[in-house]
Symmetry: T
Subunit: 143 residues, 12 copies
C-alpha cells in the first residue's frame, strides 16, 4: 500500500509547538514511527504552507498512491478550495488532527475539508497518524 501523507501549514515546525496540545514529536519523528510500525507500506510525506501546493499535491496523487492521510492544519477550517480538491480525488482519504479540536477555540470547530474525506481523527497527537494508517488498511481491505 502506497500512502501519501499531506501536512499543511506550520507542521514543519511541529517540534516547536505547544507539547501539551500537539505532543512532543517532530513531523520527522512521526514519519519514522509510522515506517517502523507499518513496514509493509510505503509512505511519502509532503509538507507545505501553501494552500495551492496542497491542492496540486492532491491532484497529482491519483495514479501514484492507494490512499491519502491529510492534516490540513489551519486550512481545515477555512479552505473551500482544498475541500473541492479532496472531493475530486477518488482515493480513500482520512483527515487527522494532533490536538482535540472539540476542546479548542470556536474557529477550530468548523470542519470544511473533513466533509470530503471518509472520516477524521482528532486529539491523539502523533498517534492520530498511526490510527489513520490502521484505518486505511481496513478501508482498503473492505473494498
Amino acid at each position: 500500500m502506497r500512502i501519501l501523507v499531506i501536512n499543511g501549514p506550520n507542521l514543519n515546525l511541529l517540534f516547536q509547538r505547544d507539547a501539551e496540545k500537539y505532543g512532543s514529536l517532530s513531523l520527522y519523528n512521526i514519519e519514522e514511527l509510522l515506517k517502523k510500525e507499518f513496514q509493509s507500506h510505503s509512505f511519502q510525506f509532503f509538507q507545505s504552507n501553501s494552500e495551492g501546493d496542497i491542492i496540486n499535491q492532491i491532484h497529482n496523487s491519483h495514479s501514484d498512491f492507494d490512499g491519502i492521510i491529510i492534516n490540513p492544519g489551519g486550512y481545515a477550517h477555512t479552505s473551500v478550495a482544498i475541500k473541492d480538491a479532496l472531493e475530486l480525488c477518488k482515493l480513500p482519504k482520512i483527515e487527522v488532527h494532533l490536538s482535540n479540536l472539540a476542546s479548542r477555540e470556536n474557529y477550530r470547530q468548523n470542519l470544511i475539508t473533513a466533509s470530503s474525506c471518509d472520516g477524521y481523527i482528532s486529539g491523539f497527537k502523533g498517534n492520530s497518524y498511526n490510527a489513520a494508517v490502521y484505518l486505511l488498511e481496513k478501508v482498503l481491505i473492505r473494498k
Copy 2:
C-alpha cells in the same frame, strides 16, 4: 486491558439503520470483531437509550476498567450532563461515531461530549471502534 464500550441511544437497533451512513454491522457484530482482533483485552459492552443510565455507567467505571470507548449517539450533540460525567472520570476516554459527522446535518456538528474525551474518531463505520481500541493501547502504553 479491560475496556468499557458505552453505546448510546438507537445503537441497539444498529443493524436496521441506513447502511450507507452507519455500515451494515449490528452492535453484536462489532463486539465479536473487536474480541477477535484484540484477544488480549477484555471488553464489556453496555448499551442504553437513557441519558441517566449512561451517566451512571460512566460513574461506575472507575475501578473496573482501564479505558472507555463511548458512542453517545444523539446525546453527543446535546448532553451537558454526560460531558460533565466524562470530565469527572479520569480514565482514558475515546469518543467514536460510525458516520462522518462533518458531512451530515448542522445539528450534528456541535460536539459537546467529545470535549471531555482524549479525542474522537468519526466516519469509519464499525471500524471506528477498532481504531479506538488501537489508540487506547497507544494511550495506555504512553502513560
Copy 3:
C-alpha cells in the same frame, strides 16, 4: 388497527396544566374519548417522563402496532435521540401537540422529532389526538 399512543413528559399531569393552552381534559379523558369515537381500533396509551423509556417504547412498537401517535412534550424541541428512533421505525407516525406551538415561546418553534414523522398536528387540545387517529386511518388505507 392497533395504535400506540406515546406521551412524553408532564402529560401524566395534564389535567393540572393551563387549560387556556392545553385544554381541560386529563390524558385519561383523552383516551376514553378516543376509544369511544374509534371503537373499531385498539389503543395502547404509554406515558413516560424519561427520554430513554420513550425510545425503548418506539423500538418495541414494530411488531405489535399498525401506527404510532406521539406527543413528545418538551422533548420535541431538543431530542436528537428520539428523532433517530422514530426514523428507524417504519410504521406510520404522527406527532401531536395540544397547544398551538406557532404562537408560543421561541424555543418551542424548533421541531426536531416531527421531521421523522409523516406529519404533525398542533393546537387543537385533546382533539389533536382524534385528528391523528382520523389521519392514521387515511394513511393506512392509502397504503
Copy 4:
C-alpha cells in the same frame, strides 16, 4: 356548516408539483373528495396567487362562513399582512400544509400566519384538508 377553503400561490397547479412532497391530487380532486366525505357541509374553494386577494377574501368571510381552512402556500413564511388579516377574523381558522414542513428547507420552518390560527396540520398531502374539516366540526361543536 359553511366552510371557506382559501388556497394560496401555486396551488392551482398542484397536480403538476412533486408528488413525493405534495401528493398526486389536484386542488379540484381535493375539493371533490371533501364534498364526498362531508356531505352535510357546504364548501367554497378560493384560490389566488395574490397576497392582496387572499387578504380581501379573509376580510369578506365574516358573515358568509362558519369556519376557514387556509393553505397560504409560500406566504405562510413571509406575510405579516395575511397574519394580521387572520387575527382580525373571529371565525375558527385552521392552517393546512400538504408537505411535512419540518423536514424541508430552513426558510419553510418559520410560521408567521399559523400563529393567528387555532392550529395547523402539516404533512398529510390532500388529507390535511380532510383533517381540517374533521377538526372544524370538533371546534364548532365545542363552542
Copy 5:
C-alpha cells in the same frame, strides 16, 4: 397642498382591530378628522391590501400631489419593492404607524420602507396621521 394618504393591508378594517394598540377610530374617521383640522388642504385616501396596487399608486402620485403619507401596515417590515417605489418618487413622504412599533413583536422592529421616506411617526394612533400633515406643511414650507 394636495396630499395622498396611502393605507396598506387591513387598514380598511381598522375599526375592528385591538383599540388598545390601534385606537378606536375607523380609517374613515381619521379622514374626516384630518379634513376638519386641515381645511386648506385636499386629501385623497387610498387603501389596498395588495402590494402591487400600492406600488402602482406611488408611481402615479407624481403629478397630482404635493406630498405622500403612507401607512404600509405589515408591508413596512418586508417589502423591498415598496421601498424601491418610494425611493423613485421625489415628493416629500412620511411613514406613519398607529401603534408604537418599538414595544411590539421582533418582526415589527425591522423598517424597510421607512428608510426611503423623509421620516416616520409611530405610536400615536389616529393622531400619527395628523402629525404627518402637520410635518408635511413644515417640510413643504422649508423647501
Copy 6:
C-alpha cells in the same frame, strides 16, 4: 401645559453637527422656535451628556410637568437604565430624533428607550420637536 424637553449627549453642540442629517439649527434655535409657535405652553429645556443626570431629571419631572419630550441621542440604543426610568414615569412621553434612524447605521436601529414612551418621531430635524409638542397637545386633550 408645562413641557419638559430632555436632550441627551452631544445635543449641546448640535449646531456643529452634520447639517445634512441633523439640520442646521442649534438646540437654542429649536427652543426659540418652539416657544414662538406654541406660546400658550411653557417649556423647560434640559441637556446633559450624563446618563445618570438624565435619569435624575426624569425622576424629578413628576410634579412639575404635564408631559415629556426626550431626545436621548446615543443612549436611545443602549440604555436599559433610562428605559426603566421612563417606564416609572407616568406622564405622557414622546421620543424624538432629528435624523431618520431607519436609513442610518445598524447600531442605531435598536430602540431601547422608545419602547417606554407613548411613541416616537424620527427624521424631521428640528421639526421633530414641534411635532412632538403638537402631539402632546392631542394626547393630553384625549385624556
Copy 7:
C-alpha cells in the same frame, strides 16, 4: 424561439432610476435593442408590480413560449411564492439583474427566486437582458 420577458416591480419606471446603478435605458429601450439584435426570435415583454400577477404569468407561459427571462426586482429577495412558481415551470429560465447585487445592501444578497432558475446574470445594466437571450439560445440548442 418565443421568449417571455417578465419584469417585476418598479421596472416600468426604470428610466427614472439611478443611472449609476441601473443604466440609463428605459424598459422600452431594452425591448427595442433586444428585438434589433435578435431578429429571429419573438419577444413578449410583461411588467407588473404585483407578486400575484407575476406568478400568474409564469403559470400561463408553458404552452406559448420556449424560454423565460425574469427580472424579479425586489421580489428576488423575498418571494417564496415566485420561487415555487418558477420551480413548477419546466421551460429554461434565466434571472437577470441590472445592478451588481454583490456590491449592494445586505438584504439584496439573499437570492430566493434564482435558485429555481437555470442561472442568473447580475450587473450589466440593460445588457444583462441581451446576455440572457444569448444564453437561452445556447441552452435551447444544447437540449
Copy 8:
C-alpha cells in the same frame, strides 16, 4: 417545614469535582451541614442522573413537602421538560448552583429551568443550598 432537595446529574460525585469551582464538600456533607443549621426543618435529599426521574420526583412532591430546592446540574441549560414540570408544581421552588455560572462557558449562560422557579442562587458552593433554605423560610413566612 419539609423541604425536598433535588440534585441532578453528577452531584453524587460532587466530592470528586474541581474544588475551585464547586467547593470541597460532598453532597452528603452539604446535607449534614443543612440539617445542623436548620434543625427545625426536615430535609429529604434526592439525587438522580436521569431527567425522567427528576421530573417524576417533582410531580410527586406536591403533598409531602412545603418547598423545593433544585440543583438541576447540566439539565438547567437544556431541559424544557424539567422546566414544564416545575411550572406545574405550585410549591415555592429555588434553583441553586454551586459555581458562578456568569463566569463559565457560554452554554451554561442559558437558564431554561430557572424561569419556572421563584428565583435562583449561583456561585456560593455548598452555601448556595443554605441560602436557599434561608430564603424558603422567608418565602413561606411571607405567604
Copy 9:
C-alpha cells in the same frame, strides 16, 4: 462586619415600581429590615443613577468595608466599566436582583457585572438583599 450596599439606577424610586416583579418595599424599607435582622453588622446604603458614581464608590470601598452587595439595576446587562471596577476590588462581592431575571426580557439575560462577583441572587424581591448578607457572613467566616 461593615457592609457597603450599592444600588444602581431607578432603585431610589423602588416603591413606585411594579410590585409583582420588584416587591412592595422601598429601598429604605429594605435597609431598615436588614439592620433589624443583622444587628451585629453596620450597613452603608449608596444609591446612584450614574455609572461613573457607582464606579467611584466601588473604588473607594476598599479600606472602609468588609464586603459589598451590589444591585446594578439596568447596568448589570451593559456595563463593562462597572465589571472592570468590581474585578479590581478584592472584597467579597455579591450581586442581587429583586426580580427573577430568567423569566424576563432577552436583554436582561446577559450578565456582565455578575461575572466579577463571587456569585449572584435573583428573584426574591427585598429578601435577595437579606440572603446576600447571610451569604457574606458565610463567605467571610469561610475565609
Copy 10:
C-alpha cells in the same frame, strides 16, 4: 480585444468534476469553443490553485489585456485578498461560475470577489464563459 481568462483552484481537473453541476467540458474544451466562437479576439487562459499566483496574475494584467474573465472557484467565497487585487485593477472584469450558486451550499452564497467586478454570471456551465466574452464586447464598446 485581448482577454485574460483566470481560472482558480480545481478548474484544471474540471473534466473530472460532477457533470450535473459543472457540465462535461474540460477547461481546454471551453478555451477551444471560445476561440472558435470569438475569432476576432485573442484569449490567454491562466489556471492556478494558488491564491497568491492569481493575485500576481491580476496585478500583471494591466498593460497586456483589454478585459478579464475570472472564475475564482472556492476563493470566490473567502478571499479578501483577491477582492482587493480586483479592485486595484481598472480593466473591465466579469466573474463567472459554472454551477448555479444560488441552489448550492450556504457557504457558496457569500460572494466576496464579485463585488469588485462589473458583474457576474452563474449557472450556465461552460457557456458562462461565452456569455462573459459576449458581455465584455458590450462593455468595451459602451466605453
Copy 11:
C-alpha cells in the same frame, strides 16, 4: 503642541490591575514618562469614570488643544455617545489601549469609539501612549 490625554473608567486604579495585561505602571508614571520623553509638548491628563464627564471634556477640548489621545477603557465597546462626541471634534484623535484587545474577551472586540478617531493602538501597555504622541507629531506635521 498641547495634548489632551483622556482616560476612562478604572484607569485611576491602573497600578492595581493585572500587570500581565496592563503593565505595571500607574497612570501617573505614564504621565511622567511622557513628559520626560516629549519635553517640547505640554500634556493635560484627564481621568473620569463617568461617560458624561468624558463627553464634556471632549466638547471643551476644541480651543485649548492641538490633539487628543483617548483611552476610553470599557466605554470603547459600548458608548455611541462618546463616538458621536469624538466625531464632532475636529482635532486629530488617537485611541489607545494598554492590553492587546485582539486576544481578549469577545465583548472587547467591538470597537465603537475608534471608528471616530484617526486610528488606534492596542497592546503595548504604557508605551501605547508614547506611540500615540509620536504619531500625533507625524499627523500634525503632515497637516
Copy 12:
C-alpha cells in the same frame, strides 16, 4: 536592531490604491522613510501575495532578526495558518494597518492574526510602520 517587515497581498501596488484610505506613499517610499528616520537599525522588506510564502518567511525569521513588523493585508481577517505561524515565532511582533479598520467593512473587523502579535496599530497610513519601529525599540529595550 535587525527588523523584518512582512507585507501581504496587494501592498506591492500600494501606490495605486485609494489615497484617502491608504495614503499616497508606495511601499518603497515607506521603506526609504523608515531607513532615513531609524538609521541605526537595518530593515529587510518582504512582500508576497501568497499566504504560504508569508508563513515560510515567518518561519525563517528566527535567527536573522530581532523583531517583526507585519501588515497581513486581507489575510489579517481570514488566515488561521498565519496566526499559528506567528504564535510559533518568539520574536517581538507588531501588526500594522494603513487604514483605520474600525471604520471600514464588517469583514475587516475580525482580527485573526493580531491576536498572536504583541499588539497592533491601525489607521496612520505609512506612519503606522514608523510607529511600529518606534515601539519595537521600546519593547526590545524593555526586555
